[in-house]
């Protein structure tokens, strides 16, 4: 990623240069034989889909960051931007679906190529829902902006941990790395733990501040949204396992 883009999109997850010979991470054991050029079009289309999924992922990670910062800072404008930008995430999902459908219809991919496209489509579904969770957190941030409860900082920590899982699982997706994906799924326990702790803390706070019941409920809703983002990162890890091995596994039983 070039410096300019890094400055513009601090949360961007991009494919490393030179790692694009085969987007699915599989090199023909027979080498680039007579049929290699037959795949140019398919590889190009799959790369296009992958890059859009990464773009979508970057937008989601950014949205989570912005939502929790808006929550902690009581920043209404920042929260509004997250809610407004969610439409762009949704639009990108729709655009990716069109690309996936047209690639399947025109290229008739099979085996790992097919699993790759199906997995990417599933990933966009998870990312779209993550965007919704971030927007929900932003809505609670708007509600709480006048008097931010002390528990908001704990929510930021959940959000940052969950966003890191999203970045890392997208990295595993680019690298087509099953082990890395499993490692991400295992780390969702940390997010769950933070959620549980924030939940308990909020309940304790509410006992002391019973007149702020509505604010406490807002915090709990927001915390739950952030916790769900970690679960959805695990779902993406399952998609990575599917595309690399063909196995359908529950990594969060």
């Amino acid at each position: 990623m070039d410096d300019e883009r890094r400055a513009r999109e601090p949360h961007a997850v991009t494919a490393p240069p030179g790692a694009t010979d085969s987007v699915t991470g599989i090199e023909g054991v027979t080498g680039p034989g007579a049929g290699a050029h037959l795949r140019d079009h398919l590889e190009r289309e799959m790369r296009g889909v992958r890059d859009d999924v990464l773009r979508m992922g970057s937008m989601v990670v950014e949205a989570v960051h912005e939502a929790v910062e808006a929550l902690v800072d009581g920043d209404r404008e920042r929260a509004t931007a997250v809610i407004v930008n969610d439409v762009r995430i949704n639009d990108l999902q729709a655009a990716i679906l069109v690309q996936v459908v047209s690639t399947i219809a025109t290229q008739a991919p099979v085996a790992r190529d097919l699993r790759y496209l199906l997995a990417l489509d599933r990933v966009t579904y998870e990312l779209e829902r993550m965007g919704d969770h971030a927007a929900s957190v932003a809505k609670q941030a708007q509600r709480l902006a006048d008097d931010v409860p002390p528990g908001a900082t704990r929510l930021r920590n959940i959000g940052l941990a969950a966003a890191e899982l999203v970045s890392d699982v997208l990295r595993a997706l680019i690298d087509v790395d099953e082990e890395a994906a499993r490692a991400v799924a295992a780390r969702d326990d940390d997010v769950d733990h933070r959620y549980k702790s924030a939940f308990d803390h909020t309940m304790t706070w509410l006992r002391a501040e019973p007149n702020r019941l509505a604010d406490g409920i807002s915090l709990l809703f927001a915390a739950h949204d952030l916790e769900r983002i970690g679960d959805r990162a695990t779902n993406i890890a399952e998609d990575v396992v599917f595309l690399t091995s063909g196995r359908i596994e529950d990594l969060n039983p």
């Binding site: 027979t30 007579a34 049929g35 290699a36 008739a108 099979v110 085996a111 790992r112 190529d113 699993r115």
Partner: protein, 294 residues
């Protein structure tokens, strides 16, 4: 059951079991069945270490493969990998090439059809064949279908047999009013279905199809594929195809063969078709079906 193939010789029956279950219901994407054997289906044709030669050239090398009864088995692979040779080994069509020689055993209903004393003509009656280009005889539709039964001395109701064969070939409604017209006046897809009716008129157990749709348009192709599905309820179908989507659409089992450095075809992988096209075991198979070579 096979005594008419080889009179006076004791038969070694292969172990057979049957199942009423739909083969497609047994196939799951994630289920590992690298050997591709259908444990709950019996085998009608079994290749045991089969090698085929044309003179000194070995076209097929050491193939061991089971063809399950009442299923469609597709053989895919690059040009020149020996697909057709392997197919023709099932009805001893290779015998018609003077220099051809087959090693190993092709076991049909428990009997090695290459064993001494086996009547190749009887083998071919029990194993019908449909070729790449529709090749009806320059006779009427009726005579085309009646030809095999007449040669075999059929004594029943020939009209009924012709109608039944044409119905099973999904052609009856289109030709019932012009049975005495020349088969050559039909469209390519209809001619190919005449050839299928001709092949099944002798009540074979197995029907071999060597690129049966390569000369047909997409609609006629889909009709033949649909027909293969229907025929597999009564017959075992083995098809050679270059069209991988055809194998994916129309077959239950897929065998992939490719050739080694000496250009001899060998079996890389055989598996339920769904597994083969979603998650093959062998990287060579993945490369071939994904267009990485060939």
């Amino acid at each position: 059951m096979v005594s008419d193939l080889r009179e006076g010789i004791a038969l070694t029956e292969t172990t057979t079991t049957t199942s009423a279950s739909d083969p497609r219901a047994r196939i799951h994407l994630a289920v590992d069945r690298p050997d591709g054997h259908s444990d709950d289906h019996d085998t009608v044709v079994e290749f045991r270490g089969v090698s085929c030669y044309y003179g000194a050239f070995r076209a097929v090398r050491d193939v061991t493969l089971s063809v399950p009864r009442h299923e469609v088995t597709a053989i895919i692979g690059p040009s020149g990998s020996g697909k057709s040779t392997l197919l023709r080994a099932i009805n001893r069509m290779n015998d018609l090439v003077p220099t051809a020689r087959t090693e190993g055993a092709v076991v049909f209903d428990g009997l090695d059809i290459y064993a001494p004393g086996v009547d190749a003509v009887e083998v071919r009656r029990r194993v019908g064949m449909v070729f790449q280009k529709p090749n009806p005889f320059p006779k009427s539709i009726y005579e085309n279908v009646a030809f095999g039964p007449r040669v075999n001395g059929f004594r029943g109701d020939l009209d009924e047999l012709v109608e039944r064969s044409l119905r099973r070939a999904a052609l009856w409604d289109e030709v019932k009013d012009k049975l005495r017209s020349s088969a050559l006046a039909l469209s390519g897809g209809q001619q190919q279905r005449v050839c299928i009716a001709r092949a099944i008129a002798t009540e074979p157990e197995v029907v071999l199809m060597d690129e049966p749709c390569s000369a047909l348009d997409p609609r006629a192709t889909l009709q033949i594929e649909e027909l293969m599905r229907e025929l597999s309820e009564r017959y075992t179908i083995v098809i050679v195809t270059h069209n991988m989507q055809q194998a994916a659409r129309a077959s239950d089992m897929t065998a992939f063969i490719t050739m080694d450095e000496a250009r001899a075809g060998y079996l890389v992988e055989v598996a339920p078709t769904l597994k083969m096209f979603t998650n093959p075991e062998d990287r060579l198979t993945e490369d071939y079906i994904s267009g990485r070579f060939g």
